[in-house]
Amino acid sequence: MSMSKNILGDIKDDVVHGAKAPIRAAREVVETVRALRNGDVSYREVGLTAGATLGAVLLLVVLLFPLYYMINVALAAGTGAASLYQEGFFASPSEYNLGAFEWLVQDSGFFFDPYPGAAPTVGWWEGFMSSYLANSIQLVVPTVAFSMILIIPAAYAFSRREFQGRKPLLYGYVLLTQVGGGISIAALIAIYVVFNQLGLLNSYLAVAMLYAAGAIPFNTWLLKTFMDNIPESYEEAAIMDGASRWRVVWEIILPLAKPGLAVVFIFVFLAGWNEFILAQILLSADKHPLSVGLFSLIDEFSTPWGQFSAFALIYALPVATIYFFSQRYVESGLSFGGMEG
């Protein structure tokens, strides 16, 4: 589809632009040195700028300290620093090893469960199917599918059509966008009882539907605001040319709303991938996703921190990657929440 190609193209532009940043920075340094020699700028000016930049970099280093500390610990599994037996934050690079990642692949249950259902030996496929990763995928895919199916038509209707009860409904959705997660935790007791009564416990589809339902108000509202920004003149022109309403939706609104669709996609993906409490209560242990798997690691005192870090990093990696490269979409999605009064 051309839609996904465009988004990938934008991301590629961002990456290329970002990769060239050092070149631009080097050029700026050269220019500055030349200007200094010629006396075009004062040393004070340059010193202030360099100082401010250095300060900001230091601040950034402190902010992201937990992250690279984790990476270091994962790479230095089994060493004194990683096990908190030794002074100092970082293990020496000579001690780096991939032990934790080997454990992650073979024994952690992340990719493969070596003993599914306590069976002695199994093929890799059965091993994979009972892993945390497989459980997460089985939870996330229907979450995304249900959400998109429910959100896109509603957002379109709110943005472009008039119908009875549109305004009060929209007002209700706006109210509900203001707080998300807490409602489902507060309702957890009742959700558990209702799922229990309806026999929906341990069903991926039911939990996915629950996630999708929770994601509806915020994401519908978000996508609607994106669609509102598509000029109506495009549609009018297409209708003049004899296009049907559905064709207008398919060929004008949806393609032009693709940044909005991308943001919604990311948010509902995150909702499925990150959620922890509902999954822990509503699914049995053999169906727990990665988020619950990670939590169960910290209660086992036998799991060394290096292995815990490896598990945590690989769990967070896909999400952080997607998020990082789609920042411009996510930011435009979030700034709606702040600005547009």
Binding site: T53, I149, L150, E162, I183, I189, Y315, V319, Q327, G338
Partner: protein
């Protein structure tokens, strides 16, 4: 907007019945039904539960419970643990929101400052925490506050103490009430600053340069310009973000749950965790748990209402 105008001369009744135009409402219906069934129905059920003396889920399935009206609520009011939870939750909201605002505004000022080169890339890196799963972040911070001598928090604490000429032993961060509380606040700060940063940065970028330049010409210093030019311009978005993040703090569940289950000895049990523990402990007390959650939901509702009202989101609605 709509493309047709056929409702010009319809009778009063016909205007109030669903018409052909209202077919578009069918597009909204599936999502509404899903939300109703999976969210609103459980919430109504929760309210019902709060008026019963139900124990575990088995009680509800077998029907072995009684309607006891407001007894759960009156028992809660007399329960010291309820007031402890309420108090510590609100304290957490106030302390963390104030720190979040100060911290995020300072960060935003640094990462938008004229003299800082490459600030766009720094911002892109600075908001990475927003993209990390909360379970990840919170478990990592739990490990940072490890009571081990060479745990990160202890290493920092002991080296600072060393500079001051003292030589203390390691601290068990989660075994002291206020140290545990402080560790929650630090973690909450790290969880929330990225979101606040995005909102405040985009507000700062809207502050007009001319105003700043005019103030500079008038001889205003950095602090004066901040108070008289920047602050008024970012006040509304910051206020908006504060209410949102205050609501998030009020609903904080995972941090105390993962750190030390709201300990030591239930002193840091935030309101949602309190309700959760009552409902799922053994023996379970779903009725009381539901009453706690209903009270929490009322406060969450107040947050929602304030934000929509004061954030003037609803105004944008009536324009259309």
């Amino acid at each position: 907007m709509s493309f047709s105008s056929e409702n010009a001369d319809r009778s009063w009744v016909a205007q109030r019945l669903p018409s052909k135009e209202d077919q578009a409402g069918l597009l909204v219906l599936p999502g509404l039904l899903a939300y109703g069934i999976f969210m609103l129905y459980p919430i109504m059920y929760l309210v019902f539960l709060s008026f019963t003396n139900a124990g575990g889920a088995e009680d509800l399935i077998r029907g072995t419970y009684n309607f006891i009206a407001l007894e759960n609520y009156s028992r809660l009011i007399q329960d010291g643990q309820f007031w402890t939870s309420m108090g510590v939750t609100w304290l957490f909201v106030f302390v963390s929101v104030v720190l979040k605002i100060l911290f995020s505004v300072s960060l935003a000022l640094v990462f938008t400052h004229d003299r800082v080169r490459g600030k766009r890339y720094m911002r892109a890196l600075a908001i990475i925490p927003l993209g990390l799963p909360p379970v990840f972040t919170i478990t990592v911070w739990r490990q940072m506050f490890s009571p081990a001598r060479f745990g990160i928090a202890n290493e920092v604490y002991i080296s600072i103490a060393g500079v001051l000429g003292r030589n203390p032993g390691p601290i068990g961060w989660f075994f002291d009430r206020w140290l545990a509380f402080m560790s929650y606040v630090v973690t909450e700060l790290w969880l929330a600053y990225a979101f606040m940063l995005i909102i405040i940065v985009s507000a700062l970028q809207d502050v007009s340069d001319e105003l700043h330049d005019a103030a500079k010409v008038d001889g205003a210093g950095y602090l004066q310009r901040f108070i008289h030019v920047t602050l008024p311009a970012i006040k509304r978005p910051v206020w908006f973000a504060s209410i949102l993040t205050g609501a998030t703090s009020f609903q904080q569940f995972l941090v105390p749950f993962i750190f030390n289950n709201g300990g030591p000895s239930r002193s840091n049990e935030f309101i949602l965790l309190y309700g959760y523990r009552e409902a799922f402990q053994s023996p379970p007390r779903m009725g009381i748990g539901a009453a706690i959650m209903v009270i929490a939901l009322i406060f969450i509702g107040i947050f929602m209402w304030i934000n929509v009202r004061k954030g003037q989101l609803a105004e944008g609605l009536s324009e259309q």
